[in-house]
Symmetry: C2
Subunit: 148 residues, 2 copies
Amino acid sequence: MAHDNIDLSTLTRNELLVFEALKESDSPMKAYDVLDVLKSHGVRAPMTVYRALEGLEEKGIVHKLDALNAFVLCSHDRPHQVQSFLVCSECGMVQEISPELREAPQVEDKILGVVRATGFQMREARLEMKGICQKCTGKQSAHNTAAE
Amino acid sequence: MAHDNIDLSTLTRNELLVFEALKESDSPMKAYDVLDVLKSHGVRAPMTVYRALEGLEEKGIVHKLDALNAFVLCSHDRPHQVQSFLVCSECGMVQEISPELREAPQVEDKILGVVRATGFQMREARLEMKGICQKCTGKQSAHNTAAE
DNA sequence: TTTACTGGATTATGATATAACATTGATATA
DNA sequence: TATATCAATGTTATATCATAATCCAGTAAA
Ligand SMILES: [Zn+2]
Ligand SMILES: [Zn+2]
Ligand SMILES: [Zn+2]
Ligand SMILES: [Zn+2]
């Protein structure tokens, strides 16, 4: 797991709390869901959570899924410019495309190439792909065996 | 201009009003900015705007920029699965990467290839790239001629 | 005319995010 | 020690973004 590589000593107390909350969760969390978890640790205000999330994002430990207003731990070993996610509209599953997937770097390269050609200085990019995950596709074809 | 190709007769009255508002604007608009414009046409409630925006999105005429909570007219000739935007953090400029840019389809192909390999049925994807646009880069290097 | 449907209006409320300012505690240094 | 400084945190209030729920108007079958 990528999270074993993180140097937790660089995190503030609140960042650590948020990190733990996200680590426990098997899906992206909304800021106010994080807040609910942290209430048992004495955190009362949204600001606290948003500040911690911002810090974690800057450290490359957390990504925000803009289409969902939700946050996930990065599954990579190191910070990276291009973040890619599969989001299932059926079950809510979110999967960050990992570098282990051999083709992923090619996508990143292509993107960087195109952008460079336009003279744009890219700092960060997020690719959010919506659709139906493999698991949910299987379920559906059980109902409806004919091709679409 | 791509917008000349759109069949406006398929739009409802409110969709048309929102379309016109976005066409007038030279940058993405927030829903409540659209509402302000439409007040002069008797529109009073956010719902009206959001409904129209949703309709326009479904018709492929408008895209939502999730990172900005803002909406823009599509600059393509026809609906497309992968939407790519450059967003300048300095001046707010947003540019949809157009099919005229020769490399753009390659990015789309790469993305589709990778996703297919995972068994994910992609319906739609949005790539939002943040950084500094060419214009703003020029301004900065005027101040600071040395390399970064 | 009745029915069903689509689009639209209204009201209220929910969900997401930030501004602005006060407090704390650790560290440096005079 | 006193005190300046700074980063992190706490607190309150408010801004911004989005939807639920319900009703109404027009229109096109039946
Ligand atoms: Zn990541
Ligand atoms: Zn699924
Ligand atoms: Zn487009
Ligand atoms: Zn710019």
